[in-house]
C-alpha cells in the first residue's frame, strides 16, 4: 500500500498498534462481523486521483455549466458579497469546529451566533431568534409545527398561495407526515386575500397562518388586519420574509406577527446551486420554549466574565428524545456567520442602499419591457422591489430558451404563464441594457 496524504499511519505504526491490541492484522478487527457481510473484491469506483487531477476534473466539469447573467430570483438572489466574508469564513477555527458543546473553547462560535440572533431580532422586530435552521422552506415547515404545538387542540394551518412554490411543497410534505391539516388562502389581485382568510378562520380550528411579506410575484404585501383576525381565533401569524428587504418594508413585528421565518441567502450568500443557505426563525417571547433548533444565551463564567452558552436545551432531542420540540440538532452555523458578517459590513444604511439600487434596476427593466409592447402588466400599480412578473404576449418557453442562448437567465416562467424577472445591485446598467437588447432582438 502506498502512503495517502490523509492517513498518517506508517506500516510500522500499524503493526505496533495491532500488537498492542492483540490482533494479527487489520481484518481481525472485524472478526465480530459475520463473514458474509465483509466486502470481498474491489469497489466499482475510480482509482485515487492526485490534487492536480482533481482540479482538472472539476475544471472540465465546470465547463459543462453555461455562465449566465442572472435576472431571476424566486427566493434566491444574486446580491453583492463582500470580499471580507469568504476570507474570514475560511479561518479553520470557525470552519473545522463542531457544534459548541464545550463553551470554554467555543466562545468564537457562540458569540457570533449570539450576534446573529440579535441581528435577526433587529430585522424582524421580534423578541428571540434561534441559531438558524436549514433553509427558508424548512423554517416555514418548523413554524407550522410550532404553531400547532403552541395552540391547544388545533391542527389546521393556513398557507398563502403567494408563498414561493418550494416553500409550499416543503410545508405540504411536513404537514402530511406530521399530521397537520393544511388550508390554502388564495391570492387576489396580487395579494393574499383577507376576505378569503376571514372565511377560512371561521371554523375555530386554525393554529397558524403563513403569509409572505413579499410574495412570489415580487409584490410587497399589505397585511393590515391580518393579525387581528388571526389573533381573534387564537392562531399565530407567521410572516415568511426576505430578510434583505426588511430594511425597507414593514417588519413582522409591525404587522403584529408572532413568528418570522425565511431564508438568509439574500444577505450576501452565493447562489451555489441552491445551498448551503440558512433558514432563520424569530418569535415573540411566549413561544420561545417551543422554538426548534439551537439557541445561544448570555451568562457569566466562574470568574464573572461575560460569556455565551447553548441554552434552553431542555427543548431538545438529546434530552427530550421523542418529546422534543423538533428533531433538529444542528444549525447552519457557518452560513449564520456569513450573514452576521454581511450585516455588520452593510449596516442599516448599506442594506437600505442594496434595496434602493435593486429596486431602481428592477423598475427600469420593468418599464422598459412594457415599452416594447410585448409584455402586459399583471398587477398594475402593485408595489414591488427587486422582482416582478409580466404577462408575455409571446411564447414564454421560446423567450427563455433564446435568452439562455444569449447568455441570460431571465424570464423564468410561473405556473400561471407569466414570466418573472429580478434585478439586484449586482446587475449593471450595461447588463440590463444588454438583456433588453437581446429581448427586443428575440421578439422582433
Amino acid at each position: 500500500m502506498g502512503q495517502f496524504a490523509y492517513f498518517p499511519h506508517t506500516e510500522g505504526e500499524v503493526k505496533s498498534m495491532l500488537e498492542r491490541i492483540g490482533v494479527s492484522d487489520l481484518d481481525a478487527l472485524y472478526a465480530d462481523v459475520p463473514g458474509e457481510y465483509l466486502r470481498k473484491g474491489e469497489y466499482d469506483l475510480p482509482e485515487a486521483l492526485s490534487e492536480g487531477e482533481v482540479r482538472s476534473f472539476f475544471d472540465s466539469l465546470g465547463k459543462k455549466n453555461v455562465p449566465l447573467k442572472v435576472f431571476v430570483g424566486g427566493g434566491c438572489y444574486d446580491h453583492y458579497s463582500p470580499a471580507v466574508i469568504p476570507a474570514l469564513l475560511s479561518r479553520s477555527e470557525f470552519l473545522t469546529a463542531y457544534t459548541p458543546y464545550q463553551p470554554e473553547i467555543s466562545q468564537g462560535t457562540l458569540r457570533y451566533i449570539f450576534e446573529f440572533q440579535s441581528m435577526i431580532c433587529a430585522l424582524t422586530g421580534l423578541d428571540a431568534a434561534n441559531a438558524s435552521l436549514y433553509d427558508g422552506p424548512t423554517s416555514a415547515a418548523e413554524a407550522m409545527m410550532l404553531s400547532v404545538a403552541s395552540t391547544r387542540k388545533k391542527n389546521r394551518v393556513l398557507i398563502s398561495d403567494g408563498l414561493l412554490p418550494q416553500v409550499v411543497k416543503v410545508v405540504e410534505t411536513y404537514a402530511k407526515y406530521h399530521g397537520v391539516e393544511l388550508g390554502r388562502v388564495p391570492v387576489m389581485g396580487g395579494q393574499t386575500c383577507i376576505n378569503c382568510l376571514r372565511a377560512e378562520l371561521s371554523k375555530d380550528d386554525v393554529a397558524g397562518v403563513i403569509v409572505p411579506s413579499i410574495n412570489r410575484f415580487g409584490i410587497v404585501e399589505d397585511h393590515s388586519g391580518f393579525a387581528e383576525l388571526i389573533h381573534a381565533e387564537k392562531g399565530l401569524l407567521i410572516e415568511y420574509c426576505d430578510p434583505s428587504a426588511l430594511a425597507v418594508v414593514k417588519s413582522p413585528s409591525e404587522w403584529d406577527a408572532d413568528v418570522a421565518v425565511g431564508d438568509g441567502q439574500s444577505l450576501g450568500i452565493p447562489l451555489s446551486f441552491g445551498g448551503p443557505y440558512v433558514g432563520f426563525m424569530a418569535v415573540r417571547s411566549e413561544y420561545l420554549r417551543k422554538m426548534p433548533g439551537r439557541i445561544v444565551g448570555e451568562t457569566v463564567d466562574r470568574d464573572g466574565k461575560r460569556c455565551y452558552v447553548l441554552t434552553l436545551q431542555a427543548r431538545e432531542q438529546h434530552i427530550r428524545r421523542e418529546k422534543a420540540t423538533s428533531n433538529i440538532c444542528s444549525n447552519e452555523s457557518l452560513m449564520a456567520l456569513y450573514v452576521t458578517m454581511y450585516l455588520s459590513l452593510m449596516g442599516p444604511e448599506g442594506l437600505r442602499k442594496v434595496n434602493e439600487l435593486s429596486s431602481s434596476g428592477a423598475h427600469y427593466l420593468h418599464d422598459a419591457l412594457l415599452r416594447t409592447g410585448k409584455f402586459e402588466e399583471v398587477f398594475p400599480g402593485k408595489p414591488f422591489l427587486k422582482e416582478f412578473v409580466l404577462k408575455p404576449l409571446t411564447d414564454p418557453e421560446n423567450l427563455r430558451k433564446k435568452l439562455l442562448e444569449a447568455g441570460f437567465f431571465a424570464a423564468a416562467p410561473t405556473e400561471e404563464g407569466y414570466v418573472s424577472f429580478c434585478v439586484t445591485e449586482n446587475r449593471t446598467r450595461e447588463e440590463v441594457d444588454a438583456l433588453l437588447a437581446a429581448i427586443e432582438e428575440i421578439l422582433r
Binding site: F7, T96, S118, L246, V249, L312, L337
Partner: protein, 488 residues
C-alpha cells in the same frame, strides 16, 4: 486562547460603514406606499471593514477546530477536512449557479449529483440516493417519510410504530415523532447489543420499521443483524440505518448487504466536509431498489441521450424536504474527497478508524471503566474513572470534570453523558486521520488526568484553568434567558 470581550454591536460608531456599492445609474425607484414601509429603526452595527476583520479574527481565536488539535468527539467523526475541498467548492463555475437555472445550463452540476449518487450507492450497497436533506437529522426525517410513503403506496395504513433501541441517538426518536410515528423502545443486553428476545414481542403488522445504528453508539457491531433483519422484514417492516456511525464500515461492510432498506449518511462526518461550528452539513438518504420511487423531489435523472435533467415532482415521491437539492457546496466537497481517496484507499478509512479506536481503548482501560470488553469499531465508551478519588469528605471527579480538564491540555473533550446507558459515559472517536503520536499524546494526558483524579480530584473540579472562560453558569442562562444584545 485569549479572552476577547466585545460584541460587534459594541464597536458601532454612527456614520461608519464597511460596504462598497455601485452608484445608482438607473434613476430613482418609486417609493413604497407609507403603509408598507418599515416604520421602526434598524439597529445593526455601523463599523468599518477593518473593524469587522479584527473582530471576527479575535472571535476565531477563542475557538477550537480540527485544525487546532485532536477532537475525539464520539459519534461526530471529526476527521481532517482537506483543503482541496474548499477550493473546489468555491470554483466560480459552480458557486454562481442559480438553483432554478434550466438543466441545459447546469449539466456539470447535475453530473456531480449523478456521479455522487452512483459512488455512494456503490459504497453503501444501496440502489439510489437523494441529496436534498441538509443534515443528518434531516436525513433521518426524510428516510422515515420514505418509509411511511412506501407503506402508504402499498395501501398499508396500520403501520404507525417505529422501533428504536435504547442506545440510539436522540435524533432517532425525535425524527420519528416529527414524522408522525409512535416510538417503541427496545432494550439492549448487557453486552450492549439489541436484545433480540425483547424485540420479538414488539413486532407485528403495526410496525413501520426499525431504526438501527450499526455499529451502535457504544461502537459495537450489532452481531445479530441477520436475525433482526429477517424478523423485521418478516412482519413487513423496513430497516433504517443511521449513518452517523458509518465510518468504520467504509470500504469493509455495506449496509445494503446487511439488509437495510433506507439509510442516511453524514457527508460532514464520514466524507470529510467541515462541520462549520454546527453546519452546513449534508444528510443524503439512500434506498434499496424497491423504495427508489419514494425518494423525495426534485431529483436528477439522465435521459437516453446522456443529458441530465431535473425531475421536479413525481407521483410516488415522499414529497419535498428542502428548497432545492440540498447543500450543493457540501456535496462538491465530499465528491472531491472521494476522488482523492479512490477505491484503493477506501477500505483503509474504516480499518484505520477502527484501529485507532481499539488502540486508545486498550491503552486506557486500566484507568477508565470499560463496561463492555472486546473489539470495538470506530468508537468506544468508558463509564468514568476506575478511581475517581472520592473518599470521606472528598467528592470524586466526574466525566464532566475530565472533559474540562482535557481542555487545559489542548484536546477537545469526548462526547460525554451519552449514550444514556451509563451514568458517566465518555465516548471517544479518534478517526483514521490522527497519527500514532497524537493518539499517544492523548493517551498520556488521559492517564495523567486519571492519576490526578485518584490523588486530588479538586484539580479536576477546578478545571479548566487555562481557557478564555471557565465553566459558564448554564443554569442562570436557562432560567433567565438573555438571547440578544441588551440594547436592542
Amino acid at each position: 486562547m485569549r479572552y476577547y470581550d466585545k460584541l460587534i454591536f459594541e464597536l458601532s460608531v454612527p456614520g461608519r460603514s464597511g460596504y462598497s456599492l455601485p452608484k445608482n445609474r438607473f434613476g430613482a425607484a418609486p417609493s413604497l406606499p407609507d403603509g408598507l414601509k418599515r416604520g421602526t429603526g434598524l439597529t445593526l452595527p455601523e463599523v468599518s471593514e477593518v473593524d469587522v476583520v479584527r473582530h471576527y479574527t479575535n472571535l476565531s481565536q477563542m475557538n477550537f477546530g480540527v485544525d487546532t488539535g485532536f477532537y475525539p468527539l464520539g459519534s461526530c467523526t471529526m476527521k481532517y477536512n482537506p483543503k482541496l475541498n474548499e477550493e473546489i467548492a468555491s470554483h466560480p463555475s459552480f458557486a454562481h449557479l442559480h438553483p432554478l437555472q434550466p438543466a441545459e445550463s447546469v449539466q456539470g452540476a447535475l453530473e456531480v449529483y449523478w456521479n455522487m449518487e452512483r459512488t455512494l450507492s456503490e459504497i453503501t450497497g444501496m440502489s439510489a440516493f437523494t441529496f436534498n436533506p441538509c443534515a443528518g437529522a434531516h436525513g433521518e426525517l426524510t428516510g422515515l417519510m420514505i418509509m411511511r410513503r412506501y407503506h402508504e403506496l402499498r395501501g398499508d395504513s396500520a403501520r404507525v410504530k417505529v422501533i428504536v433501541p435504547d442506545s440510539a441517538h436522540g435524533t432517532n426518536p425525535a425524527s420519528a415523532a416529527v414524522c408522525g410515528l409512535e416510538v417503541v423502545q427496545v432494550r439492549s443486553l448487557e453486552n450492549g447489543r439489541i436484545d433480540v428476545e425483547a424485540l420479538k414481542p414488539l413486532l407485528d403488522e403495526t410496525v413501520a420499521g426499525i431504526m438501527m445504528t450499526n455499529p451502535n453508539t457504544l461502537g459495537l457491531f450489532e452481531t445479530e443483524i441477520r436475525e433482526i433483519a429477517s424478523l423485521v422484514h418478516g412482519v413487513g417492516g423496513l430497516l433504517y440505518y443511521d449513518g452517523a456511525n458509518m465510518n468504520p464500515l467504509v470500504g469493509v461492510v455495506r449496509p445494503g448487504d446487511m439488509g437495510f432498506d433506507i439509510m442516511h449518511l453524514n457527508l460532514h462526518k464520514t466524507f470529510s466536509t467541515p462541520h462549520g461550528g454546527g453546519g452546513p452539513g449534508s444528510g443524503p438518504v439512500g434506498v434499496a431498489k424497491h423504495l427508489e420511487r419514494c425518494l423525495p423531489s426534485p431529483r436528477v435523472v439522465r435521459g437516453k441521450d446522456g443529458r441530465f435533467a431535473v425531475e421536479s415532482s413525481s407521483e410516488d415521491a415522499a414529497g419535498q424536504v428542502s428548497g432545492f437539492m440540498g447543500n450543493f457546496g457540501v456535496i462538491l466537497r465530499a465528491y472531491a474527497y472521494l476522488l482523492m481517496l479512490g477505491k484503493e484507499n477506501l477500505p483503509l478509512v474504516g480499518k484505520y478508524s477502527t484501529l485507532s479506536a481499539n488502540y486508545v481503548k486498550e491503552m486506557l482501560k486500566d484507568v477508565y471503566k470499560l463496561p463492555i470488553e472486546g473489539i470495538c469499531k470506530h468508537e468506544f465508551v468508558f463509564d468514568g474513572f476506575v478511581n475517581d478519588g472520592s473518599r470521606d469528605g472528598v467528592e470524586g471527579a466526574t466525566t464532566l470534570d475530565l472533559a474540562k480538564r482535557l481542555l487545559d491540555f489542548g484536546f477537545h473533550a469526548p462526547t460525554i453523558y451519552f449514550p444514556l446507558l451509563f451514568h458517566q459515559a465518555i465516548m471517544i472517536e479518534p478517526t483514521e486521520t490522527e497519527s500514532k503520536e497524537t493518539l499517544d499524546a492523548f493517551i498520556a494526558v488521559m492517564r495523567k488526568i486519571a492519576a490526578e483524579a485518584a490523588e486530588d480530584p479538586s484539580i479536576l473540579h477546578e478545571a479548566p484553568h487555562s481557557t478564555p472562560v471557565r465553566r459558564p453558569d448554564e443554569t442562570t442562562a436557562a432560567r433567565n434567558p438573555v438571547l440578544k444584545w441588551k440594547n436592542l
